[in-house]
Symmetry: C2
Subunit: 253 residues, 2 copies
């Protein structure tokens, strides 16, 4: 049985809580958070506390707070024996000022109130002390079938890649919605295309899946599309994407 204390009450903390609470060999000892209101969500199931001196002992302390609050929360744990991990894609492991430190980074986008199956979510682990690796791996395997050892440099790159495929992709969806709305068309018209575009790359690589005017070098269609755009940022993005796509396939020739 692995004992865990969760530090944080936000979106990621809630998803981690839901995953660990159903894991057969994990006991959540406590949830710590400064916001008493937000702690209520956890109180029917586990002990909570909002005073650092009341944090109990556990095998693993999981800090699931905003990046710039990690160090401050970790400082409350300096006298603890268990391993202290953060859950951030962007922060180095060594930002935690405690010898027995590590990272437990679930690579996924979590939406408040939308349950996810943790089993398929890649969990990227890093530890400072090799002796803690087995424990952290075993804990991660309690909730996910995809556990990887990834160092801080790799994790930063992975997080950067995630910004492209998640944050920037979502902005493209927003532009699609914006164009539809201005024509009085429902965004739902684009949904099957969006879903299929994502599903396609489960079978073929993005480089093979690329289609469209820029891929074909069809400058007439590009010009005609640009003439339809009113929003200057959309014009710039259209132009830059077309150049970037052309460049990839020119290099391949």
């Amino acid at each position: 049985m692995y004992s865990v204390i969760l530090l944080g009450t936000g979106n990621l903390a809630q998803h981690l809580f839901d995953a660990f609470i159903s894991a057969p060999n994990v006991k959540i000892e406590q949830v710590y958070g400064r916001n008493a209101e937000k702690l209520k969500r956890f109180q029917p199931q586990v002990a909570t506390c909002s005073i650092p001196s009341e944090i109990k002992d556990a095998d693993v302390y999981i800090i699931a707070v905003k990046d710039d609050a990690i160090v401050q929360v970790a400082e409350h744990l300096s006298s603890k024996k268990g391993i202290v991990v953060h859950t951030s894609g962007a922060k180095e492991m060594d930002c935690i000022p405690i010898p027995n430190r590590g990272v437990f980074y679930p690579l996924q986008t979590f939406t408040e109130g939308k349950p996810l199956d943790f089993k398929d979510i890649p969990v990227c682990l890093e530890v400072k002390q090799d002796s803690s690796l087995q424990l952290l791996q075993a804990l991660a395997q309690e909730v996910s079938g995809r556990v990887y050892q990834i160092d801080s440099e790799q994790r930063k790159k992975l997080h950067l890649a995630a910004v492209f495929v998640n944050n920037f992709t979502n902005h493209l969806y927003h532009i699609g919605e914006d164009i539809c709305q201005k024509e009085g068309l429902s965004f739902s018209l684009l949904q099957p295309l969006i879903q299929e575009t994502a599903k396609k790359i489960l079978e073929i690589s993005p480089i093979e899946a690329q289609t469209g005017p820029a891929r074909r070098g069809d400058d007439q269609s590009i010009k005609s599309h640009l003439s339809l755009l009113k929003n200057q940022k959309h014009v710039e993005l259209y132009t830059l994407f077309s150049e970037a796509i052309k460049k990839v396939y020119e290099e391949k020739l």
Copy 2:
């Protein structure tokens, strides 16, 4: 029973063929194509021809060829009585030099050899002669549960929106794959995130779903991400997306 002649043998023609051949009230009279080799795929099931004078009579002629070949193919049909439609998102209906003309535009990305359920694909219709609308609608409803009347101007905008959410999104997937590969990481690490990013907007609007450094106005993370990028086009895209996302949320304040 609606009789249909399909003109074209490429990817879209193949998908349309597979959809119509299973529709109970549709009879594909013939498939026309200049490429005898490509016609072979259709020959076990229907008559084919590669000589324009041998094109039979039918209720509906569906031209599924590259945009710049539409007019040329349509010219073979000038003496026909049925309605002649093209399947392009970008071309105006009026490019067809025949009075009884229209558009049958399925809004989806089609991959050769990957079957799709046509039932969920939005089919955007346009007709020149009102008297042909009912026929084209009935035909479309034989294969799709989502049939819309969309004029040429709206369709152009829809096609433009599709370039953003399909072609440009796929390029972001390519960048994600590129960043992973350079770190010796498997692109499969990003797959759950990519799939969830697409699924998320089935429930919440992209404008609400937006997260990430630019959304938070977190300039330190943006700077740190930019310092990790080596490819100049990726730097430019990261910068432009961050500006564009900031602008959307500044305007909302």
